[in-house]
Amino acid sequence: MSAPAPGPVRPDGASHGPAYGWPRPLWAALDRARPPLRVLDPTLWRSPLRGPWLTAVFGAVLLVSLPVVIVTGLLSYAAYEPRFPGNAFPADPGWLRLPHFAWPTSPSWLYRVNQGLHVGLGLALVPVVLAKLWSVLPKLFAWPPARSVAQLVERLTIALLVGSILFELSTGVLNTQYDYVFGFDFYTGHYYGAWVFLAAFLAHVVIKLPVMLRSLRGRSLPGELRTPLAGTRSEPYDPDGLVALDPAAPTISRRGVLALVAGASGLLTAVTAGQTVGDGLRPTALLSPRGRSYGDGPTDFQVNRTAAAAGVATSAQGPGWTLQLIGPTEVRLSREDLLAMPQHTAELPIACVEGWSTVQTWTGVRLRDLAALAGAVDVASARVVSLERAGAFSRATLGGSAVREPDAMLALRVNGVDLSLDHGFPARIVVPALPGVHHTKWVSTIEFSA
């Protein structure tokens, strides 16, 4: 049992890599040169589990799941409705965006599911990405560094691939935990990082898909899932240099490694998913910043920006607050005037870009009734301004379809009581399926444009 497993055989004398490209003498000389660092000695890599099959399994998981993260990310940017100035960051990505479209306001859980998937899946893929990188790390230290122009340029794009996925995962993880240590605008960095990743990912898939499929066919998954540690052997010699030339005795089976990576993904999901799934399961999100309870009162649900932090604690509570409606006619309404109008009640989520969400029962005046009061017909957009002055989302523009949406409202009450100050008293926007930060709190003005 403790006897070393038979390793792959390096064909005698033959160079273990693809043929040299042009200029041949250069690549051949590089190959003959002694590696300048000891870490470039291929026999230092001893894991008997590394090999094309294991790498292909991790690759296949990422090939299926990462497109979901990419698409939900691009959709999230579209949900901010970048066609209106000031709504989305980065403000002008040129043609690096989806075509403009009116983000739908139904079903109400659309953004909640989109972001739950983006953040939840992104987090669950952290162990898979780390395992994939572990499985191919010997190639980073391969000697010679290249045998052709093709290999050299491909390695450059691999640097983009690895850099961008690590950049995306680290900025995403930090942002969901309110750690802005990176010191640049999260949205801007994460958005353009995603385009670099998308570019490098597509090229990698085009180049490596045949290798992945061939490697997957090399061993049977059910067979590996039946193989215990005692039967675990190194994969046969491969010219790509993933299989150890001098493998150590295995200490874990391939199925053990797969179970470990899956278990790690499951663990990350278990300690965070409650932030998205619902308020009953929220306490299970032990390590999520949004797994905490505020209590069990009607306004004890997740706060995104406190009134104190927004600097509106005094102005929002003052007796002089009125809502200004700007349209063909200009109207000023007190909170009493608003409460005297027909009230609408709907159960709607607040869903944050950070992946957490909370569903509450909101009551207030429909936006379309307010538009009518201001004499606005055929509304194309409504610019909502908060009492808050400083924040990036102290104002937001809603599209015409959001204003016409029957459940879209200026909420005055939640769960049968007045809004609390931290939840936007005296009045806040609630629109189904829009990102949480566009549910502007402490509203002072709504300007309707045709």
Partner: protein, 146 residues
Amino acid sequence: MKGFRAAYGASPLHLLALLGCLALSGSAVLRVLDGPAPVRIAVWFLGAVVAHDVVLYPLYALADRSLSGALRRRRAAPGSVNWVRIPALLSGLLLLVFWPVVTQHSEPAFRTASGLDQDVYLARFLLIVAALFGGSALLFAVSRRR
């Protein structure tokens, strides 16, 4: 076609994919250069690679080798290292991912956003670590009994 492949080292499709990749990522880089803080973004991009390849990987590889080596010298069964390795790896992953809340590094910004502190996370993290190692010890004891 055969000449191209020999000179370049791969198929024309390979070259096309790489050129497409460089063009698309290049246009994203140009946008970043136009915006605020391009240097910081570049530093984080490169820093992420260096942190993984030159810091994180060597650290866990070294930890794993010393652990496996110590057990081999004691002539332990080949798989016995996993009783320690697996809970340690999972604990390390949780610490890596949840570093900001566990160390309360992001508390000021979190308080601005939510009005809450981060006092609970270190204790919760340690409890999960205890459960991981405790669960492993329990399974080890059960496997020994059989």
